[in-house]
């Protein structure tokens, strides 16, 4: 139940951001700095989520099959593969390395 509560709050706040742009007078929001922070934060968060999912196990750092997934996804993106192919490359690399015995 607790997770539901945070999940619904996230949905509410997410919609709140979107609606804010439509309701607040543009003169108040037309601030290049806000727009820039929204952008740098997007980059920072996605970079952080990538690395956390690749090397963190709770509070420990681990080098396991997920590193292979990161490399495979990087190569797929470099070759301009579409998003779904990139995701499948990541899954395939992790699954394949586990089959070879690397956890």
């Amino acid at each position: 139940m607790n997770l539901w509560m945070w999940l619904l709050l996230a949905c509410l706040l997410g919609y709140g951001w979107k609606l804010l742009g439509y309701l607040v007078p543009a003169s108040l929001l037309r601030n290049p700095r806000m727009s820039r922070i929204a952008g740098t934060m997007t980059i920072g968060l996605l970079a952080s989520l990538t690395i956390v999912n690749a090397v963190a196990s709770g509070q420990a750092l681990a080098l396991d099959a997920r590193i292979g997934a990161l490399a495979a996804a990087g190569i797929a993106l470099w070759l301009r593969a579409p998003f779904l192919v990139v995701v499948l490359a990541g899954a395939g690399a992790a699954a394949g390395l586990r089959l070879l015995g690397w956890s």
Binding site: L3, K18, Y22, A38, L45, S48
Partner: protein, 251 residues
């Protein structure tokens, strides 16, 4: 059909298919991160913003708390407010349309709309992409969630690797130039350094504040990082991005 002759509608439809399809990966990763089917669906129906949705399940999958998941998702949603402001000026929706437009204001619908120059085309592009992606994204989330729950051990299928790849795939289109790459590297480093010392999920929030500080103190493009995950105009090379501030800033 007359509507299908509109370039914005055609771009909107193809971006809807491309983006909607990868709802499959969100659905599958949602149920394997620890959410149930309806929690995964609620994110696609109500939060409806790919980056924020993946952030929420990414934090939960890593053992982070609900608060941290909400924090990461909410911070990633800030850019949609900027898009809302741009689109409000461009489309000027009235009454209930404003509230509907807000819900489908995401990277791809914004990019489809601002890539057009004619006001009617901007409107058509926005609504086609917004509604099209919403419908397909939710259908494919359900497909992915059902398939994901039938998979058994997610690690055996490399689904944790799929999550890593999905985040890199979301980040990649925003890494144009040296500055965004530097921001990404600094934030990834801050994350790795923080992992052993704070509870799971918190390193991501620390990285967000590092990124916000960089944005506050440095002066670069004001639309840095505001690129869609799937560029609707990719085949037309680089389209000039709409920058609502360029006139005021006198650039």
């Amino acid at each position: 059909m007359k509507l299908l002759q509109s370039p914005a509608v055609r771009v909107g439809l193809s971006i809807s298919i491309a983006t909607g399809l990868y709802g499959v990966s969100f659905g599958a990763l949602g149920v394997t991160s620890g959410l149930d089917f309806w929690q995964t669906m609620a994110l696609s129906l109500l939060l409806f913003s790919g980056g924020s949705q993946f952030a929420f399940i990414g934090v939960v999958a890593g053992g982070g708390s609900g608060v941290a998941a909400m924090g990461a998702a909410t911070l990633l949603g800030m850019r949609n407010g900027i898009y809302g402001m741009q689109l409000n000026a461009l489309l000027q929706p009235r009454g209930w349309r404003k509230y509907a437009a807000a819900h489908v204001t995401i990277d791809e619908s914004t990019a489809t709309s601002t890539g057009q120059t004619d006001p009617d085309e901007q409107k058509r592009g926005f609504w086609t992409a917004g509604i099209g992606i919403f419908v397909l994204w939710n259908i494919f989330t359900a497909v992915g969630a059902l398939a994901g729950s039938a998979l058994g051990d997610p690690k055996q299928w490399g689904l944790d690797g799929a999550a890593v790849a999905a985040f890199l795939g979301l980040l990649w289109p925003r890494l144009k130039g040296r500055e965004p790459v530097a921001i990404a590297v600094v934030c990834a480093l801050a994350t790795v350094l923080a992992v052993p010392f704070v509870p799971a999920g918190v390193p991501i929030l620390i990285a967000a504040f590092v990124a916000a500080a960089i944005g506050w103190f440095s002066h670069g493009r004001s639309d840095e990082g505001l690129e869609p995950d799937v560029d609707p105009y990719a085949e037309h090379h680089q389209h000039p991005r709409q920058d609502p501030h360029s006139e005021e800033a006198g650039r």
